[in-house]
């Protein structure tokens, strides 16, 4: 096996084109943020019933995917799989930029984004949200250090492994924290479940790998580098396994909730008569986001099927988070059990939410920021191997 050589990507007209497109999306998001800042959240679709909307769906997707993106690096340094080693640097870099994109959305959607300094200096340690801020900052520091370790010549493999284990442990805690933002909310029947932690970890494995495959492939294509078919199939196969794990946890989540009579209402809402949420759950999350990708990578393994499966996993992932975040809020709080509400605005009825262009722009802006930052990183840092052709992996 020849030694892996890392090179920065070249500035081609094609890569310039992509960069300009991404910058334009970020610019649109910036305009959306300024407009929301000026008028207030009143111009968005969010309201006092659906308090977290489309921006949060994108933000949580990116935050969950960020820690999953790091898996490629973890597989090489923690679990010692040599085939993943050449991709480890970019895996660490991409995980940082994807987290950055997600957090940018979250921060810019705050009612008072100008008070970010308050969030950074005043911590309430009983809040899982405050703990998450520490976890996010720690992730930047630890994965940043891990990237430096990987890019430093002549360090002992033990240092590599130690940094890898630290980053892997941290990302598991981080995703548990993200899941617990919902899992620890006792008030709402759609959340309040310990399984949110492990479910989110499984989701991060799948979404992160899908995102990593697509972004790496895109950069390789832009730069005319070779990404071997065998490696692609291997990643596709792994993606299929991760998707199966997500599906498993999803099934357990809903079966457990179905068994408890107190959760029958929300389950009926999500699984049966929730309109758009039910469609999103069954059609997009389960069929398009899980069953089809699994069929593609296991039954018809090919380069194209892996790429298609990756797209579908991301689509299904967005749907899954939409159903969890928005669906969980749309279902009414049960404040008066045994009573039907005759009068009282938005009391005991399904809350409606129709996102506006501002929320969409903000969400897409975060994605564009993550991608542009990753591309810039690959432009200035030697994180991408010159080739990932199958000749490098004799097995």
């Amino acid at each position: 096996m020849e030694r892996t050589i890392y090179r920065t990507i070249k500035a081609t007209p094609a890569s310039w084109g992509v960069a300009i497109l991404l910058a334009a999306i970020i610019g649109a998001a910036g305009l959306a943020v300024l407009t929301i800042e000026h008028y207030g959240h009143i111009i968005t679709g969010m309201n006092n019933q659906i308090v977290w909307g489309l921006p949060h769906v994108f933000a949580i997707f990116l935050i969950v995917a960020a820690s999953g993106v790091l898996n490629v690096a973890s597989i090489s340094s923690v679990f010692g799989k040599k085939a993943y080693k050449p991709m480890a640097r970019f895996s660490a870099l991409l995980s940082i930029t994807v987290l950055l994109g997600g957090l940018a959305i979250l921060v810019l959607d705050l009612g008072r984004p100008d008070r970010l300094i308050v969030a950074m200096t005043k911590y309430n340690f009983t809040s899982i949200f405050a703990w998450n801020m520490i976890l996010y900052n720690g992730f930047f520091a630890i994965v940043g250090a891990y990237l430096v370790v990987q890019m430093t010549q002549g360090l002992s493999p033990r240092v590599h492994k130690a940094a890898g284990i630290a980053a892997f442990t941290w990302r598991l805690i981080l995703t548990t924290g993200t899941g617990s933002i919902f899992g620890w909310l006792v008030a709402r029947p759609g959340y309040d479940a310990a399984i949110m932690g492990p479910l989110f970890i499984a989701m991060s494995f799948a979404f992160g790998l899908a995102l990593f495959i697509l972004v790496t492939l895109a950069l390789f294509r832009l730069d005319g580098r070779i990404f071997g078919d065998k490696l692609m199939l291997r990643l596709g196969n792994l993606l299929g396994v991760f998707v199966a794990v997500v599906l498993y946890f999803t099934i357990v989540q809903h079966l457990t909730a179905l068994y408890a009579e107190e959760h029958a209402g929300i389950e009926r809402f999500i699984l049966l008569d929730g309109g758009a949420y039910t469609t999103l759950f069954w059609l997009v999350q389960v069929v398009l986001g899980a069953l089809v990708p699994m069929a593609l990578v296991f039954l018809r393994p090919s380069r194209a099927s892996t790429i298609l499966a990756s797209f579908l996993v991301i689509l299904g992932g967005l749907a899954q988070i939409y159903v969890i975040v928005i669906g969980g809020q749309a279902y009414p709080l049960q404040i008066f059990p045994g009573y039907e509400v005759l009068e009282g605005f938005n009391e005991g009825v399904v809350n409606s939410y129709s996102p506006t262009i501002y929320e969409l722009a903000l969400g897409l802006g975060g994605v564009a920021l993550a991608l542009l930052a990753a591309g810039l990183g690959a432009k200035i840092l030697r994180v991408l191997p010159t080739n990932l052709s199958d000749a490098n992996y004799p097995d």
Partner: protein
């Protein structure tokens, strides 16, 4: 819980401001920061303010408490071209309910329940959601970043996010765009020895459905009523021990 006012006091003493005062005149410092803490009228840890709402006395067609709260605290008219009931604040709201099995109809106001273990305070990342020593749950809008996690956590839908600019607020209740707000139990009145606006209005309407008082004083009318008659807490399953209780609901 750390005493933030004390911390600030120390900060000031450490800062140049205090040094400047000390060199100017020690008496000035005494006047500005001093004053005997023992006899100052502050939130009292020996008290816990609460409400007891009798649904039988609450008239379905009356909304005097809601109107009084709006007037007192200046919410409910945030306006703007995009404004709608979904985005309008609701510190207190009236609900009319029908028992699914017996058909009995009742009405009651719902506001912040001033829980003893408030989920909003637990989840707030900055500590803006806070509970005073006398049990009143407030939002410190000075450090609220508008993340709305408390609204996700509140089981009673008691909190509102201000969706647009609020010009020239009431002095009673500063409130503004981008932060979360909720019923303050009229803390500005209670601290100066007055009853909350909703209680006053309910009494004036002749219904007297809301009883206000100190839950820690066993001889207070509210404590005696709670001891004598059955009452419930909303979402009692969550064991939050709210300071607002309901009778005949």
């Amino acid at each position: 819980m750390t005493n933030r006012a004390e911390m600030t006091r120390r900060d000031i003493l450490k800062s140049g401001a205090a040094v400047a005062t000390l060199t100017l005149a020690p008496g000035v410092t005494l006047m500005t920061f001093g004053g005997s803490e023992a006899n100052a009228a502050r939130a009292d840890a020996g008290k816990r303010w609460g409400l007891l709402i009798d649904a039988n006395k609450c008239a379905a067609d009356c909304s005097a408490c809601v109107t009084a709260c709006k007037t007192e605290n200046g919410w409910g008219n945030d306006g703007g071209e995009h404004s709608g009931p979904e985005t309008e604040s609701a510190w207190i709201r009236k609900v009319t309910l029908r028992d699914k099995h017996t058909g009995r109809q009742v009405s009651a106001p719902v506001m912040c329940q001033h829980c003893e273990s408030p989920p909003c305070v637990d989840v707030c990342p900055t500590g803006a959601s806070m509970q005073r020593v006398d049990g009143i749950v407030l939002v410190d809008k000075h450090i609220c970043i508008g993340c709305r996690y408390c609204m996700m956590a509140c089981p009673f839908k008691a909190r509102s996010f201000v969706h647009s600019d609020v010009p020239e607020q009431s002095v009673n209740a500063p409130r503004g765009k981008g932060v979360v707000e909720s019923c303050t139990l009229c803390v500005h009145r209670v601290d100066r020895g007055r009853i909350p606006a909703c209680v006053e209005a309910c009494e004036a309407s002749g219904n007297s459905a809301i009883l206000f008082g100190d839950l820690k004083d066993p001889e207070s009318p509210i404590s005696r009523a709670l001891k004598q008659y059955s009452s419930i807490a909303l979402r009692a399953d969550l064991e939050l021990n709210p300071g607002v209780r309901y009778q005949n609901l």
